[in-house]
Symmetry: C2
Subunit: 246 residues, 2 copies
């Protein structure tokens, strides 16, 4: 498996077509996409291209947001945006862990003040699977190859320190790999019957992006092991009734 | 970054020296390790080499284990071993999530019946950092290069479906990357100030191993971004007082 940072992408602004920027940068870098390659795109540039950016100067923090400021050590206007993006607050203690409209459980409901202009924050894309699909379709039209696209975010995790990349949008890849019924070398049932190639590939890519990820927010992975097909990054969210940690 | 599955490893048995098996397989595959390469080794073969395997026929399940069998759909002897490996039961509902002696929080306290002989289970290595160190030192002696070694396990996660690889032992790599004080392209503070290269690289490797991982339980990663140094995979465990999800 080969993991390549795509260099030479310009700073992304509202209305930019990520697929076109990728195709152009690929040409510049003399890189050729092949069938089955995985293209991982950082959420930050997808959100910017889609205008999912909020100017904090337009935000009037509610009473509730003001109340939380002391606990969260954040700009009250940012807290207000976080509350607006939260469908349910899962934990609140120094950090705010929320369930977003998409169903993701993450810190600050995915609202991010890094890698964007001063006094602005990015929101997660409205429909990150659709964002991934659009990039995939655009690449297919431009260079005629079928790739998988993953929109990645960097997120903290319960029980373990240090954030890692996860998939928040997918296209052309089954996010989960179901190995029920497969056997190990000894003919025994596998311990782990369902794995998440989409999250593993997002973790791989984000480790190469670095966190100051406006630098190389697009990563190409060649030779990855995954099943082609469709699905949603929402499939990666543990259903409420099966979530032991709510 | 390049991720290469090491082929040609024999089935590992008690007393085998993993470092020697790796060096031999590298020669066979005509692969050369370089300074800074990362060698990821599946827990299953480390445990086997170290004799961390339990023959279930020697286990007499306790009353407590028998009581849990209905809930866990497992062999009562396996449940007994899981209880013995658990320092604290964190959740118990269809699956048993435990804190191990190392401090890891994982399903079945790391006890695994796959990728091992019938009627046997593997335990996590007693001191997985020491296991990683031993492999690292052995490789250094044999081929004279400084590599990082990660002992990986496949684990499920709260909130997200599908297991991914994580690091349970490390040597020659700082498991966490602290970016506090660094700035993004706009001069702003980074959202995520601490990431986990060790877990990201473990996720990468495990995605390439596949889960029937006795096939390619060793993965070589070239060109990875990480900080050299020492630390413990225990640093990846969220301290109790900072764990919002206990």
């Amino acid at each position: 498996m080969e993991v390549i940072a795509l260099k030479g992408l310009p700073l992304v602004k509202r209305g930019d077509r990520i697929d076109e920027l990728i195709v152009h940068a690929l040409e510049e870098q003399n890189l050729r996409l092949e069938d089955g390659d995985v293209v991982v795109v950082a959420q930050s540039i997808v959100s910017k291209a889609e205008g999912r950016v909020v100017d904090l100067r337009t935000i009037e923090p509610s009473r509730r947001a003001r109340k939380l400021v002391g606990q969260l050590d954040k700009d009250p206007r940012e807290v207000e945006v976080i509350l607006q993006q939260s469908k349910e607050i899962v934990r609140l203690k120094h950090v705010l862990i929320a369930r977003t409209e998409h169903g993701f459980v993450c810190a600050n409901a995915g609202v991010d003040h890094s890698n964007v202009w001063d006094e602005h924050v990015t929101l997660l894309p409205k429909d990150p699977d659709a964002s991934a699909r659009q990039i995939r379709d655009g690449i297919k039209r431009a260079v005629g190859v079928d790739v998988a696209v993953i929109v990645s975010d960097t997120q903290g995790r319960p029980f373990r320190c240090g954030a890692v990349g996860v998939a928040v949008g997918v296209a052309g890849i089954k996010p989960l790999l179901d190995m029920r019924g497969r056997r190990d070398l000894y003919g025994k049932e596998l311990k782990t019957t369902i794995t998440s190639p989409a999250d593993a590939l997002a973790a791989t890519a984000v480790a190469v992006m670095g966190e100051a990820n406006e630098g190389t927010p697009v990563i190409i992975i060649k030779g990855a092991v995954y099943e082609r097909g469709f699905g949603s990054a929402r499939d990666l969210v543990m259903p409420l009734e099966r979530d032991l940690f709510r």
